[in-house]
Symmetry: C2
Subunit: 344 residues, 2 copies
Amino acid sequence: MTLKDLARELGVSTATVSNAFNRPDQLSPALRERILGEAKRLGYRGPDAKARSLRTGRSRIIAVILAESLTYSLNDAVSSEFLSGVAEVLDTQGHTLLLLSARQAKCQLVDSASMADGFIVYGLMPSDELFDSLPLNASLVAVDFNVAGHPSVHIDNEPSCFEIADHALSVKSRKRPAIVNLRLTETPCNGRVTPEHILLPPERTITRARLSGFYRALEKHGLDSEQVPMWNVEENTFDVCAPVIEEILDLPDAERPDLLLCMSDRLALTALTLAEQRGLRIPDDLCLIGFDGIAEGQYRAPRLTTIRQESGDKGRLAARMILGLEPRHSRLLKTELILGETCH
Amino acid sequence: MTLKDLARELGVSTATVSNAFNRPDQLSPALRERILGEAKRLGYRGPDAKARSLRTGRSRIIAVILAESLTYSLNDAVSSEFLSGVAEVLDTQGHTLLLLSARQAKCQLVDSASMADGFIVYGLMPSDELFDSLPLNASLVAVDFNVAGHPSVHIDNEPSCFEIADHALSVKSRKRPAIVNLRLTETPCNGRVTPEHILLPPERTITRARLSGFYRALEKHGLDSEQVPMWNVEENTFDVCAPVIEEILDLPDAERPDLLLCMSDRLALTALTLAEQRGLRIPDDLCLIGFDGIAEGQYRAPRLTTIRQESGDKGRLAARMILGLEPRHSRLLKTELILGETCH
DNA sequence: TTGTACGCGTTATCAT
DNA sequence: ATGATAACGCGTACAA
């Protein structure tokens, strides 16, 4: 049953049937009633989305391209919250959400992509050439990194990290701070960062900005940031974090850090769990700070001291920009220091 | 730049260009090279997905229709894990994932839907009529509930709940068990379930099956299940669960249950957090069991005693069935009892 | 209200 | 074998 069949059946033109569905004002109410009634009776389900999107050039589909795999992104609290914000706005506006990952085979990514009306790109992409393959006219908003020629949504990573590290270092004198990084080395590294490791360039990744904030706070407190031991973790999941955190916690007492500046809540929560297992008192023996402000860190005792970034707002804003509900220029969102009980 | 333009530019037919992209065996390698080379040079990005999907009838898009809102589903660990499993398989098979919610306006849901090649329906839908509007030929797999004429994927809710409740009641004598339900009343209810409340019919919802399992275990242990107090929560989030759990925990000592049979880990974790805040010792003062086996319940101390359902496997299986990688008949997945420290 | 060109490829059929 | 032709998929938009 197609629109054309229905038109023939009713003895009206296809245009009229189309109008009955899309533009009520273009035909008499009586005729419209009749068309809709017959449509239902004959089992015609309304204009086909594929045909319509070919004709109009729009699909009402917005694609989110995630830097990480879908499997990871969907299980991570921060990106889930982001997606949830995106979905909320799209839903309201009658659009739908197509999930893509930059990790997918390029060809299939690109042609699924050409169905979408717009793109929200979340996180640092493995390469920029991807963007050359996207439809030229489609709009694009980058989140947490920049794409030349397109607006982006960021949070103020450096100041936030300065603020929280400054807080951590002020509360009580900590002799042995250490930093736990997320995906910050040029080559993959799960473990201690040595001078041989090259760090990703500042403009490429948000974690580098977080590191700068930590460094600035350390310097302010008279510490030589170069001397502060640093670890790195490649993936923000318990399973990947745990071995690295264990390596830290299992250092001899005299060497074990008494303050961990973690770049994510997942890192900090992993440290918290493993530290508790080892009988370390928090915050007395070990002080912890995180970043993100995920629910899991707050609905527990002790609550994590962390920086709350509103990932949901980030998603909502990006979605609104894509849909043209918001001016298309780059935005910087604020964060908030949450004082929990893991650092005081 | 369309395929037609490129064909004209090269002086070959559109069919040949199409073949160069889709069926290398249909033309000489030399010609194919030339076409692909020129395509790149002239900025032709390959066949347009919209046009192709109109012609072929396929889009390589699989839609997941979620019973809950996208906002909720993306933030919930269980459904995220499910989606993650779906995405993993689709990815591998060159398909993409479109997220829809049964809560969306019907019309937009239906027409976004008509783009998809297949549907995975997750959770109890508000109404069945939705399925009448879906494309007739499209394949459909239901998860956690049944849709007439289509295969489904289930877990064994009743036996699992019997098993864990039986365990809980065996470990030590508990005088005052109580049940915390999830969305089980006919009319919304966040609080104590009274005889006036009508419960959803067993065939409609998995939580009713869970309740049966609990009841069977209670009877086995000589308890009158009718007498066991029951609460109900409408949404599986901390914010909605908390007030109900507080109502339970704040009962006078003599009335407060010493065993909570919770239908989800979120419920149990909420109870755990709030109980700890009140200085209740777990499991001595209060014994807790959950359902789901989400990571959050295991990466902590005490770990939750719960039933682990492999939501990821559920998603993978549903996706494989939709893609025809798996026979299209209903399947029942096994669960596993996880002995944590919240009930012994 | 209607006729109809158009959007962009795909594929069956035909020709060389 | 290779390549070309043309019908087809389903609506939409604009002129009439």
